[in-house]
Structures are given as C-alpha cells and as structure tokens.
Symmetry: C2
Subunit: 489 residues, 2 copies
C-alpha cells in the first residue's frame, strides 16, 4: 500500500508553467494495460495516478469478450491438450505474416501463464471451466471470464487499485506530453473535468511524473480520419466494435515527442459481428463461441462455405469483403449450447431460431439443395476427423450439424483492433525515431503499441498482451529514476 | 527569373534564436521532386533555395533507371497502344491492394501526360524512341531517358535551376522544422558544411521560409533501424538498391511537427537486382528491359518458372523470398537487344553469356531436361498469343526464346522503395494528425510521402509521382502567404 496522494510544489515545467500536481508515475488509460501498470508501479512504492478521459473506467477492455489466450495452462493440462509458448509464438508469427517484432511476441507467449496466475491469485478473477478454440490458434488455449466479458477482469483490477489507494481519475484527457529540453518526459498536460468529445471542455492541468508516464490509451478504431489515412476503405460506412472513445490521441501525443509509428496501416476487422446490431453487441460472442467453432459460415447467395471459419481474422474478413457476400453462420441445437449470449441474441433479433433447415434457408433466401449439400459434406468431413474442404481445426467431440432447432446470425466485418501503434522494447520503453533508444520517462502498453501482433492479431491475444506489457510498463516506470526525481521538490 | 539570394535581417525564431538566412521557399532534397518544386516555386517569384545533405545532388533520382510511366502518350499513340489515365489509375489500385489514397493516385495518372511534356518542352529531356512494358502495367506505357538513367532528367532539372538562379546548396542537412507557437512552419534548422553521415559535422544555421518548406527528402530504404521497425525481416543482411543517403531524417522531422505517418510498413523490394553486385548496379536495368519482358525467370534448382515475370513487385519478391530459391533470368540473342547495359553487365560478370542452353544449365546447375521443357512450354504459349502458365502480359512481336547465344543473370530481392511516408492532400500540403488539416507552411512530394501507391508501387511510377507532386508542392509553396510573410523583415 502506498500513499498516492499528489504533492503540490512550486517547481515549473520546462516552458515555465507551474505543475499543478506531482506524482511519480502517471498512467494514461484505465483499460487492462493501464490498470495493470498502475498496480505494479504502486507496488514499487511509486505515487501513482490513473487518468481516464471517459466518464467511466475500462475503455474497450470493459466491453470486450473477456477471452485470454494462455499457452500451457492448468485447464489445458487438465484436458490433455499439449501446448507451449513456442507454439503460441509460432501461431502469432504466422498470422502476423512475419511482421511481428519477435522479442515482443515471444514475451507475450512466455508470460501468458504467469499473467493468468496473477489475475487469479492477486486479483481473484474467475474463469469458466472450459477452453475455447479461436481462429488461428493451433489448439484450444483460450480462457473466458465467468461473466463472458472483459469487465470480469476490469472490476477486480479497479478493486485492487482502490485497495492500494491508487486514484483513478475520470474525465481527464491527455492533451500533451511535457518534455524537457533534452526530450525527456517530465509529465503531462491534461484537461480535467473533460467531457468527451468536446475538446474545449475542462481545465488545463499539468501533472509532474517524476519517474515516468505510462501510455495505455488504446487504439484508434473509432478515429475515422486516422483509420482512413491508413486504409481508405475503412470510411464511416464501416462500423466498429469499439467503444466511442477509441480515438487515438495518445498515439498522436507520442509521435510528437518522437515515438516510432509501427504498422499503423494494419487495421483488423472482426469477422464475427452481427449485421443486425451496432458495434460489438451481443452477437459477436455468439459467433465466436458457437457459430464458428461448432457451426459453419455460408454465403447466403450460394449456400456454400467460402473460408475456414477458424482461420485468422484477416483471411476471414478479406474473404468476406472481397467476395462481397452476406455471410450467415449456422449452428444446431447441440452447438448452440456453447453460446453464452443466446438469450440476449434471440431477444434482440440478432440470432434467429428455425425449426428446420428449410425454414432457415427460406428466411435468408439460401438455395436449399446447396445448403443441404454443404452440410452433408461438412458432416462427412467430421466423421473423417478433419475438415477436408477448408482445413478448419476441429474442436474435440464435435458433432454433426443436424439436430434442430437451428440458429443463425447474419455477419459483417467491423473495425476491431489496431495492430499498429508506437514501438516499445521488451521493457515497455517507448523508443525514439531519432536514435531508436528509449525516450527517458515514457512507457507504453496495450493497443497503443505496435509490432507485437504484426499484420494480424489472433483472437484472445489482446488481453494477454495488455496485461503482460501493462505489468512490465508499471514495474519499469515505478523503478525508473529520472534526474529530476533525485532533487527534492 | 527571380532573385533568389538570401536576405539577412534581425527577426527571431519563436524560441528566440536569430535567423541566419531568409527565403520564401526552402526545398529540402535535390531529387526529382525537390528540383521540380524549386523550379515551380521560383516561377511564382518566390526566393527559393534547395538544400541537399550529400556532397552531390540528385539522391536516388540520379541513380535510378530513368523510367517514367505515362498514360496516353505520343509514343503510345504512334504505336497504336490504347491507354488512359483511368487504366493507369486502376493498375495502381490493383497493385496497391486498395490502400492507395485514390485522389492522389488519380492525380499522378491524370497529370502524367502533362509532366512528360514539361520535361521535354521546358527542360529538354531526351527519351528513347521505344516504350517499355513493366510489371503490373496493363500496357506498355513507360518512357526511358536517352541515357537509361535518372540523371537524364536530373541534369536538365539542375540546369534549369541554374538558369533561374536557384541556389542548390550541398552538404546541408535538415535537423529540425522550426514552428511558431501555433505549430505553423517558420523555417528550418540545418547543419551546413555537413559531412554525411557524421551528425556532429557542420554548423547549425536557421533558415526562414516565409512562404513554405517543401520536404522532398526521399525514403528510408537505407535506414536499417527504421525499416526493421516496420518489417523485422529487412535487417542488415538484406541489400538495398538505394544510395546511402536514403535515411529518412525528413520523415522524422515531419512526424515531430504532427505529420501523419501512412503505410510505413509497406516497404518494397525490387525483384530484378543482381546477386553478383551490390545495390542497384548495372544488372537491374538488364533484367527490367530484357530479362523479364523478353526472357523468363526460373528457379535454378527446378528449372521451372514460378511467377509471372511482369506481375507487381510484391508478388514477385514474395514468391522469390518465400520459396527460398535462387532465381535466374534467361534471355536469348534476340531479347538481349533490348538491354541497355549489356556491355557493362558482361564486363562486371553480372550477366553471363552462353553458347548453348546446355552450357547455361551446367553453369547454374539447372536440371537441363526441365529447363528444355519450361522453354518449350513458354515458346508454345507465345504461339498462342498468351502466357498460359502465369498470365504474363506479352510484349508485341515477342519471339520464342531459342536463338543462341543465351544470356543469364542471377537475381535476389533488394530493398528498393518505401511506399509509406507522410500524408499529403492533393495540393501537396502536409496534413496534421491533430485535425487532418494542412500544417501551415509545410509541403511534401516524392518518396517522403505515403498513400499514393498503397501496398505496392509499380515500376516507373516513382518518377512521374515525384515530378507531378514536386511541381504541385512548388507552385503551392510559392503561392502561399504566411502571416509573417506579410510583415516587412
């Protein structure tokens, strides 16, 4: 437990503005990465504060599906699934098309077990007793929180911050990183009482960070101008699964102090979101947990499958976008048992229930004979133990899709994750474009960073990335000693 | 003709440093884009200077192959080749995988005819009387300078600068863009008498740019740290075709004043460079003009073709890298007539001459029966008027590869072009990451910009891009009136 209250003193910023508050570590963002960083920083004895621009904490993390990939986990051991950090690392590189920064990707895989244990033992996070097999992973290795949402981890993180007396300050918007003459980070300029998205709201405040600033500000999936700079196809007609605050100001602040932009044009669309609701919604988890692993996805105009439903997201969304089709995922009454959000999906009309394939085909105007043939071929595949047509890795004890009622969801790709961001090293230090050395006093973790996932992030690799690098950033920021920190205030 | 001599006066930079020299327009870089910009800026009456960090002018432009794509040109008309800016635009988008900023790509295609005329009528550039068909272009549309090098355009550009009394100042390294409090560009900080690559050499000078700064600093193919940030596979074991000064400082200076990085991770390797010499060398032009359009490329271990020799560069280099082969391009005594650098290639051992296929196959340890079969199949294809195996677009009057002696070159991909850079609009104004509006006083053109070519630049589309946007940048910088420019010095 540390005393995280601010000190007030009379020192000045480099450009002769007074500091309003002083901390050792200032963390920007209250998602997985930010909160994990704050806890680790405070653990070193650093006076730590978390700043969040929105009215509620948690950002995208809170609304995520709570899926976390772990290589060599107790559940895998229990279920006899062989896995290793090396295998997970190779899966990441394959999806990343070799663009991943290997030392960073390897760290995520290697520390995935530790970080799972930390969430359970330190935070008391509860997970379901089953593993999920997500696209692009060689084996089932994905835990899911008891609540099937990211808030199942965010709430325990917030409780821990509270316990450690780390203030988590809402409506505090980063406007600028403050450097000294040498380019070392001194602190941050923010607007407090900020009302998103009104850039004139709130009051300018300057916060000294004696040891370091941790950027954990997330991606820019909701910044339409920036995302169309990187990929002009992702204009405002394309929806996003992200919360409205995913607007990338942390990234631009970092670039302005010389951070290195990495892979910004690799923006991931999610293949599992529903056409019949906005954003991430309730349908995404239905497709992720039931539709894709236990069902099939067909093109409604042909009744045929067109891609491995568990391949990496880029392959799937490219197939969905390029072929310009309306995909429908179909699962039967057995497979649907794996869906965690079925009731909500049915209530909102996102998933429809059909007593027969005939009824289903008629509703979506899928040619019935072709749909029958597709299912027959797929079911036959299962009896041979492998998906002959598209090589989908089959979950254990997979049953044929045959038992009515059937459930279906119409899909369309939505902007989901920014693989790109600023470059860090394995100590979560932000590197400078001028000499590729750390910018003193600047750390980053989570979606604001780039390089870890290369061209494509695998599903359930975000939470583990955020927690691993959030913890590293917090530890190192807490341990950092700037020149200025030596001097008494 | 304008008086481009500097004025000296007593005004100060925003951070209270005196200006050493004053101009209206300061152009950084003396390649195609920079020199074209300087000429157009001076044409508006602006006092203009060109700064070049190296000891000699021209950068990569001077050592390039002097190939320029033009849609709907006099030579095409004369030869009965149907083409249009629309077709060229579509070729660019196809290679660019849809990532191109369409308004910029379209401008290049639409103004290609104008810019060709400008080089001939204004500059007196001389071109050969034949058109070339480069990879990814639907039709032959590529002019080549009389000297088969970019200096065939650089020298006339320099002569024009001289005629217009525009100083082109060597050994002048940009160290920083100087802004005022609002972020508007005021001028540049440089080191003059700089000796590349010694960053401590020379003396700091501050140059006022009353109307604007044009960045035409080229790409970062030779900056191994930055290129491995973007693509970790491109480490120091991979050679580059670029001159040693292609080190990207202009890009980092621009990012630090809020320019938007675009597509930095799309770095192009050239598929035509020789394994038997460093850099661009003399072999690249041999392959470009003879080996690929008039010959075939085979994998030396199998004797088989493995890719369309005229597909876009990404497809070709991916095929070469992924299959991990040693490709050899082969042409006969007919096809070799199109090579402009044959003598030099033979002299340096980059191209070898063989009296028979047997001799050639023995030298490269290519299985002879397979090589015979490959050539037979390819020659048979020609008699049907199309490349059945890989769909290579065939140049007119293509003859079978059959007439000894044969010529061959061993190839390997080398880092060639950075598609990514800073974002500009169609007025060549650099946009700010904060509001996506122009940064007042900052213009850019050429390889330092990103977005025009998307994921992959087609061969011979760089010179036309540089000249089109260089001219636009110069005109607009010359016409710009900053607040400060209104005030007398």
């Amino acid at each position: 437990m540390t005393d995280s209250g601010p000190d007030r003193c009379n020192s000045m910023t480099y450009d002769d503005q007074p500091w309003d508050q002083e901390y050792d570590v200032v963390v920007i963002g209250s998602g997985f990465a930010g909160l994990a960083a704050a806890i680790e920083a405070a653990q070193t004895g650093a006076r730590t504060v978390v700043l969040e621009k929105m009215r509620i904490p948690g950002g995208n993390s809170a609304i995520s599906g709570g899926l976390i990939a772990v290589a060599g986990s107790p559940l895998q051991h229990h279920k006899g699934i062989e896995d290793s950090p090396e295998l997970m690392f190779n899966d990441m590189l394959k999806a990343g098309m070799g663009l991943n920064h290997p030392e960073l990707a390897r760290l995520v895989a290697e520390q995935s077990g530790d970080v799972l244990r930390w969430t359970i033992e330190k935070l008391g996070v509860e997970y379901q007793d089953s593993l999920n097999h997500l696209g692009g992973h060689s084996v089932p290795r994905t835990y899911i929180t008891a609540t099937s949402t990211g808030s199942g981890i965010i709430q325990p993180l917030l409780a821990e911050c509270h316990k450690m007396a780390i203030p988590v300050q809402m409506k505090s918007q980063l406007t600028r990183l403050i450097t000294d003459q040498r380019g070392h980070i001194q602190g941050v300029e923010i607007r407090d009482n900020y009302l998103f998205p009104n850039s004139d709201s709130g009051n300018v405040q300057r916060l000294r960070a004696h040891r370091g600033v941790v950027l954990a500000t997330g991606g820019f999936s909701r910044d339409i101008l920036l995302r169309t700079s990187q990929d002009p196809r992702l204009g405002e007609n394309i929806d996003s699964t992200n919360h409205v605050g995913a607007t990338g100001e942390g990234l631009s602040s970092a670039l302005q102090v010389g951070a290195i932009p990495v892979h910004l044009s690799w923006i991931q669309l999610g293949p599992w979101a529903s056409l019949d609701e906005k954003g991430w919604g309730v349908g995404s988890m239905f497709t992720l947990l039931a539709g894709f692993p236990y069902g099939i996805m067909v093109d409604s105009s042909s009744g045929k499958r067109f891609v491995n439903e568990l391949s990496d997201r880029k392959l799937r969304t490219d197939a969905m976008l390029m072929k310009n089709i309306t995909p429908v995922a179909i699962v039967d009454s057995e497979g649907v048992k794996n869906a965690s959000t079925l009731d909500k999906c049915l209530k909102r009309g996102v998933v429809k229930k059909f007593n027969s394939l005939e009824e289903l085909a008629a509703f979506y105007t899928i040619p019935l004979p072709q749909l029958h043939q597709t299912l027959e071929r797929y079911n036959l595949s299962l009896s041979h133990g492998r998906d002959i047509e598209f090589g989908k890795p089959l979950v254990k004890d997979l049953k044929p899709i045959a038992k009515p009622p059937f459930y279906a969801i119409r899909l369309l790709p939505k902007v989901h994750h920014c693989m790109g961001g600023i470059q860090i090293n394995s100590h979560a230090q932000v590197l400078s474009i001028h000499d590729h050395q750390p910018i003193p006093g600047l750390f980053a973790a989570g979606e604001v960073t780039g390089g870890i996932h290369g061209a494509s992030r695998l599903g359930s690799n975000a939470i583990v990335d955020c927690l691993v690098f959030g913890r590293i950033a917090g530890k190192n920021a807490g341990a950092a000693r700037s020149d200025a920190a030596m001097k008494p205030c």
